[in-house]
C-alpha cells in the first residue's frame, strides 16, 4: 500500500512540477554542451569531404580514425580530461540541483518558484555534499572489501571451470556490486530527504539512520527505483526502435532525431523528479514514529558528543506543509 501510494505520489509530482523538470533537463543540456560543442567544431572537418557520406548513412570507424590521424593522442587526452572534469562538475551541480528539487517537492506551492528552488538548493548544498562524501566513502570501503573477496573467489573458480565461467562469474560479481551500490545510493537519497524534512544538520547520524530506514524497507525502496528505472528503460527502447527505423540522412530527419533525443532526456528528467517524489512520500509514510525516534536519539546521544548547533529552519513541519497543499 505504501509503495503504491508513493508511486502514485511520484507520478503526480511529475504532473505538478513541470518547471522543476525543465530546470533539471536544462542543467543537463548545458553541462553536456560544454563538451559536445568543441567536438562539433572538430567534426566540422567532415563537412567538405566526400568520405563523410559514410557517416551520414551509418558509422565509419575508419573515417573517424582518419580524421584524427594527425592529432590522435591530443584528441584523446583533451576529450578524456574534459569528460573527467565534466563528471566532477556534474556531481557538484547535481548535488546543488537535488537540494532545489527536494525543497520544491517537500515544501510545494511556494512562489516565486525560482527563488524557492535556488534558495533550497543553496541551503542544503553543503550538507548534501557531506552526505555524498560519506556515502561514497562508506560504499567504497564496503565494495572494495567485497570485490577483493569476490575477485579471489572468481579467480579460483575460473581456473578449473569452462571458458564462459569467468564471464558469468564476472557478471554475477557485477550484479552484486550493483545491488550493494544501490543500497548505499538509496541511503544517500533518503538521508537527503530526511535532511530537508527534518532540517538535519548531523550528517553522519542522518546517513546512518537512513541506512537503517533503507534496510528496514528494502523491498519498498528497491521497488520504487525499479519502477522508475523500468519507465526510463521503456523510453530508451522506444527511442532505439525509432532510431533504427529512421534513416537520418536529410536535415528534417536529423532534426527529428535531435528532438527525439531531447524528448528522451526530458522524460528521464521527469522520471528522476518522480522518483524523488515517490521517495519523499515513502519516507513520510514509513519513517520512525516520534517516540521511537526519541529513543534512538537518546542512544545516539550517548554514543556521540554534544549536539551541533541547530540552524534556523522553516516555521512549519515538512509534513504539515505537504498536507496543507493537498
Amino acid at each position: 500500500m505504501c509503495t503504491a501510494q508513493a508511486v502514485k505520489e511520484g507520478l503526480q509530482d511529475i504532473a505538478t512540477n513541470k518547471r522543476t523538470i525543465l530546470l533539471v533537463w536544462l542543467t543537463n543540456l548545458i553541462l553536456a554542451l560544454t563538451v559536445a560543442l568543441p567536438l562539433f567544431s572538430w567534426l566540422g572537418k567532415m563537412s567538405r569531404t566526400v568520405e563523410a557520406e559514410a557517416m551520414l548513412q551509418g558509422f565509419s570507424l575508419p573515417l573517424l580514425v582518419d580524421l584524427a590521424q594527425y592529432d590522435f593522442g591530443s584528441i584523446l587526452m583533451i576529450v578524456g580530461t574534459l569528460v573527467f572534469w565534466l563528471a566532477v562538475c556534474a556531481s557538484l551541480v547535481s548535488t546543488f540541483v537535488s537540494g532545489g528539487v527536494l525543497s520544491v517537492l517537500v515544501f510545494p506551492g511556494r512562489e516565486p518558484f525560482a527563488q524557492h528552488f535556488f534558495a533550497g538548493a543553496g541551503r542544503y548544498f553543503l550538507r548534501f555534499l557531506r552526505l555524498l562524501v560519506l556515502g561514497v566513502l562508506c560504499g567504497g570501503v564496503v565494495l572494495v572489501g567485497i570485490n577483493l573477496l569476490l575477485g579471489f573467489l572468481v579467480a579460483r573458480l575460473s581456473q578449473e571451470a569452462s571458458e564462459m565461467a569467468p564471464l558469468f562469474l564476472g557478471l554475477g560479481q557485477g550484479v552484486l556490486n550493483l545491488l550493494i551500490g544501490t543500497v548505499f545510493l538509496l541511503a544517500l537519497h533518503y538521508a537527503r530527504i530526511d535532511t530537508v524534512v527534518e532540517d538535519r544538520t548531523e550528517m553522519g547520524r542522518t546517513y546512518l539512520s537512513s541506512m537503517r530506514f533503507v534496510l528496514r524497507n528494502i523491498l519498498r525502496v528497491f521497488a520504487l527505483i525499479a519502477f522508475f528505472a523500468l519507465l526510463t528503460g521503456v523510453i530508451y527502447v522506444l527511442y532505439v526502435a525509432l532510431r533504427t527505423a529512421l534513416p537520418t540522412t536529410s536535415w528534417l530527419l536529423i532534426l527529428v532525431l535531435m528532438a527525439s533525443q531531447q524528448f528522451v532526456v526530458l522524460a528521464r528528467s521527469a522520471f528522476q523528479v518522480g522518483l524523488y517524489g515517490a521517495e519523499v512520500e515513502l519516507f513520510l509514510l514509513r519513517r520512525p514514529k516520534a517516540a521511537d525516534r526519541e529513543t534512538v536519539a537518546v542512544l545516539e546521544d550517548a554514543l556521540a558528543g554534544p549536539p551541533a548547533p541547530v540552524l534556523a529552519s522553516e516555521l512549519e513541519p515538512a509534513e504539515q506543509a505537504r498536507t496543507d497543499t493537498e
Binding site: 562539433f40 569531404t49 545510493l185 536535415w251 528522451v264
Partner: protein
C-alpha cells in the same frame, strides 16, 4: 645449318629453357638435413627425453668447421636470457614457468665425443647469459658437398604454455623442442658475399629459420593421450603398460611440432581437388596465371582437426578456413604438396595462431558460439592465415629472423584475398552490433603517419615498437597498393612466379623484387625502396579547391584587324554565331604531406555532371591542377578508386565546393545525447 636456322633453333631452345624454368612446380626440396628423433614425454615432470640422429650435407663450396644449433627452449630458462630480458621475469615467479633443453651427449657417427667442443654463442646481442644458440666444433671440417652425421641425446623441460610451447591443463603443445641446426648459407644465397651459419638467438618477436629435409619422429606418450603432429602417421604401437609410440614422417619440411593431450577430440575431413574446386575456377586461374590446367590442379588433402570438447560446435569455422586456404592458396601459388594438414584447437590463449609444417594452431573461444559474437570472423581468419603459412614460410622458406615481412606480409596479403573469396568479395571481418569492418578497414585502422621510425626490412628483434605493423600490416597494404597499380593479372603472376621459383628454397627480399620487376616488365625499385626499405608513411591531401568564372578580357590586344582595347564590359555576341557560354576555371591544389610519393589520379567533378580524370606523378611537394569548363567544379577527389591503400589518411583526399554539415550535425547530436545520458546517471548517483 644456316645462321638463320641456327639462330631460330637457339631462340627456341632458350625459350623452352625459360618456359621450363618459369613453368612447373617443384615437388621436392634439395634436402640438406635429415632428422631421426625418438622422444618420450613424461607428463608428470613435463619433460621430454629424446635422442636425435642428424645428417647434414654441406650445400656450399666452403669447408665448414662447426655446426650451429638452435636451443630455443633455453629462452625460458631464467630471467637473463635475451628473450626474458625483453619480456621480464619477476622474482617470485613459480617454477613451472621455466623451460630449458640440455644436450646430454653429442657424438659423431663414429662415436667421437663432441661435447668438449660445445659452446653457447650470442651472435645478435653478445648476452653471455643467453643459451639459445650452441656451436659445436667438429674435429674435421665438412667438405663442400660432404656430409656429417651426429647423434645427440637431450632432455627438455617444457614450461607452462607460453609462446605456443608448453603445458596447459594437462595438454602439451610441443614446438621448438629439440636441438635444431641453423642454416649454412653459401655465397650468393640471399645476397651473401661469404658463406656462413645463419643461427640467431631467440627474441620475443622473432620466429624461425631452418633447412629443408626429411623428418622421422617417434613419439612415446601415455596411451590415453591423443596426438597430432607434423607429417603423416606411419605406425602406432602400444606397449601394454600405458604407453603408446607413434611414428610420424614427412619430407621437404624444415621443422616438426606436435601436440598431445587426453581431452582432444580428433575429427577428420577431406579436401578434394576435384570436388572442392569448380572446373571453371581452374580454367579461370589457368588463364589468369598463364599456366596450363595441369599446373593449377590441386591434390586431395586429409584435414585432421584436434578440437577441445567445448569448441566442437566451432569445427565448421575451422574447416571453412582450412578449405579456403587449401583452395585459394593452392590455385594462386601452387598445389599443397603434403597429404595432411593438422589443425589444432589450442588450450589456452598462449597456444594459438601459429604455424609449423603441415600443422597449425588456430584459436577460438566459447563466446564465438553465441550471437552476436559469432559474426566476428576471427576463427576463420586465423585458420586461413596459419594454413596460408604453409606456402609462405613452409614451402618458401624465408629467414623469419631477418626478413619477417616475406612470410608475414605476403601471407597477410594472401589471407585478405582468400577471406574475400570466402564471403563473396566483401572480406567482412567484423559485423558486430552495427559495427562493420572489412579486412581493408582493419588493416587501414593500424596505418598511422606516426609509424615512421622503422622499416619493414629489418631484423625482427630490432624494432622500437610495431613489429606487427611493419611485418604484417604495412607489407599487406604495400602489396595491395602494388596490385592496384599493376593490375590483378600482373600481380597474380608475380606471386605465382615467385612461389614457383623459390618453393623449397630460401629467398631474400631482393629475390622477390627481382621477380616483381621481371614479371611486371618495369623497374619497381622506386616503389620497394620507399615502402619496404624506407620508413616514410604516405599521405596526400587536397589542400584547396576553387572555381571562378573566367574574367572578361581587359587591356590592349593585337588582332588580325589591328589593335583593340577592351575594358571588361560584355563583348557583343554576333547574332549569326552560337552564343558562347561563360567559362569557369577550376583549380585544385594537392599537397604531399609525407616524404614518400606515389603517382596519383585526381578526379574533377563539375556541377553539370561532367567528370575529368587527371594524373600527377606525385613527386613534387605540391602541385596545382586546373581546368576550364562551362560549369563550376563541384568536388575534387584524389585517388577516387582508393587504389593507394598505403595512403594513411583518406579523409583529406577529397574536397567539395559546398560544405555539407549534415554528418557533423548528426554525430554531434549522438555525442550530445550520450553525454546527457552519462550526466543523467551521475545525477542519480550524486
Amino acid at each position: 645449318m644456316t645462321i638463320k636456322n641456327r639462330a631460330i633453333l637457339l631462340t627456341c631452345l632458350a625459350a623452352s629453357c625459360v618456359a621450363a624454368f618459369a613453368a612447373g612446380l617443384p615437388e621436392r626440396a634439395e634436402a640438406v638435413v635429415d632428422y631421426r628423433i625418438q622422444v618420450r614425454l613424461d607428463p608428470k615432470t613435463k619433460q621430454l627425453h629424446g635422442q636425435e640422429w642428424i645428417s647434414w650435407r654441406n650445400p656450399s663450396q666452403d669447408q665448414v668447421e662447426d655446426l650451429w644449433f638452435h636451443l630455443y627452449l633455453n629462452a625460458f630458462k631464467n630471467s637473463e636470457s635475451t628473450f626474458q630480458k625483453h619480456r621480464g621475469l619477476r622474482p617470485g615467479t613459480k617454477e613451472s614457468v621455466y623451460g630449458w633443453v640440455d644436450v646430454l651427449s653429442l657424438r659423431l657417427e663414429n662415436g667421437t665425443d663432441l661435447t668438449a667442443g660445445m659452446s653457447f654463442e650470442q651472435p645478435d646481442d653478445g648476452n653471455k647469459s643467453d643459451q639459445t644458440v650452441m656451436r659445436v666444433k667438429l674435429p674435421q671440417p665438412v667438405l663442400p658437398g660432404g656430409q656429417v652425421s651426429v647423434r645427440l641425446a637431450f632432455r627438455a623441460q617444457l614450461p607452462d604454455l607460453r609462446v605456443r610451447t608448453g603445458q596447459s591443463k594437462g595438454t602439451f603443445m610441443v614446438a621448438q623442442w629439440f636441438p635444431k641446426l641453423g642454416v649454412y648459407e653459401p655465397v650468393g644465397m640471399r645476397g651473401r658475399t661469404t658463406g656462413g651459419w645463419n643461427c640467431h638467438q631467440f627474441h620475443p618477436s622473432s620466429e624461425f629459420y631452418a633447412d629443408f629435409g626429411q623428418y622421422s619422429v617417434e613419439i612415446t606418450i601415455p596411451s590415453n593421450f591423443r596426438l597430432g603432429a607434423t607429417g603423416q602417421l606411419q605406425w602406432k604401437k602400444d606397449d601394454g603398460k600405458g604407453q603408446s609410440t607413434y611414428l610420424y614422417g614427412e619430407n621437404n619440411i624444415h621443422d616438426f611440432a606436435w601436440t598431445a593431450g587426453p581431452d582432444y577430440v580428433v575429427m577428420k575431413k577431406k579436401f578434394s581437388g576435384q570436388a572442392d574446386v569448380l572446373e571453371g575456377e581452374y580454367k579461370q586461374t589457368a588463364s589468369l596465371l598463364d599456366r596450363s590446367l595441369d599446373e593449377v590442379r590441386l591434390s586431395d588433402v586429409e584435414m585432421i582437426f584436434l578440437m577441445q570438447p567445448h569448441h566442437l560446435d566451432q569445427l565448421p569455422r575451422y574447416e571453412k578456413g582450412a578449405r579456403l586456404a587449401l583452395k585459394w592458396y593452392g590455385l594462386w601459388y601452387g598445389r599443397y604438396p603434403y597429404r595432411t594438414l593438422t589443425v589444432v584447437d589450442p588450450v589456452g590463449a598462449g597456444g594459438g595462431g601459429m604455424e609449423y609444417p603441415t600443422l597449425i594452431t588456430a584459436g577460438t573461444t566459447e563466446l564465438f558460439s553465441y550471437a552476436p559474437f559469432d559474426r566476428i570472423m576471427f576463427p576463420e581468419m586465423v585458420t586461413v592465415h596459419e594454413a596460408g603459412h604453409q606456402w609462405w614460410y613452409g614451402m618458401v622458406g624465408n629467414n623469419e629472423f631477418e626478413e619477417a615481412w616475406l612470410d608475414e606480409g605476403l601471407n597477410s596479403y594472401s589471407t585478405g584475398r582468400a577471406m574475400e573469396q570466402g564471403d563473396g568479395g566483401r572480406g567482412m571481418m567484423v559485423d558486430f552490433l552495427g559495427l562493420q569492418l572489412t579486412e581493408l578497414d582493419v588493416i587501414r585502422l593500424q596505418n598511422r603517419p606516426s609509424w615512421r621510425y622503422d622499416t619493414s626490412l629489418q631484423p625482427a628483434w630490432s624494432y622500437q615498437s610495431g613489429y606487427s605493423f611493419y611485418s604484417y600490416t604495412k607489407p599487406e597494404l604495400m602489396l595491395r597498393t602494388l596490385e592496384n597499380h599493376l593490375g590483378k593479372r600482373t600481380m597474380a603472376r608475380i606471386m605465382r612466379t615467385y612461389h614457383e621459383r623459390w618453393r623449397f628454397r630460401h629467398p631474400g627480399t631482393s629475390d622477390f623484387i627481382a621477380v616483381a620487376n621481371e614479371v611486371a616488365g618495369k623497374d619497381l625499385s622506386w616503389f620497394f625502396d620507399q615502402f619496404l626499405k624506407g620508413s616514410a608513411p604516405l599521405d596526400y591531401e587536397i589542400a584547396g579547391i576553387s572555381s571562378f568564372q573566367v574574367p572578361a578580357r581587359v587591356g590592349v590586344f593585337d588582332g588580325p584587324k589591328g589593335r583593340v582595347k577592351l575594358n571588361g564590359t560584355a563583348e557583343k555576341q554576333p547574332k549569326t554565331k552560337p552564343r558562347v557560354e561563360p567559362k569557369y576555371r577550376s583549380e585544385v591544389t594537392i599537397r604531399r604531406n609525407s616524404d614518400a610519393w606515389f603517382p596519383v589520379d585526381v578526379l574533377f567533378t563539375f556541377e553539370d555532371g561532367h567528370k575529368l580524370l587527371k594524373h600527377w606523378d606525385g613527386k613534387a611537394r605540391w602541385t596545382r591542377l586546373s581546368e576550364e569548363h562551362t560549369s563550376r567544379l563541384a568536388k575534387a577527389e584524389l585517388d577516387p578508386e582508393h587504389k593507394i591503400e598505403l595512403d594513411a589518411n583518406w579523409s583529406n583526399n577529397s574536397r567539395t565546393m559546398e560544405a555539407d554539415s549534415r554528418p557533423a550535425a548528426k554525430w554531434f547530436s549522438h555525442i550530445l545525447f550520450s553525454l546527457q545520458t552519462l550526466l543523467g546517471l551521475i545525477g542519480l548517483l550524486a
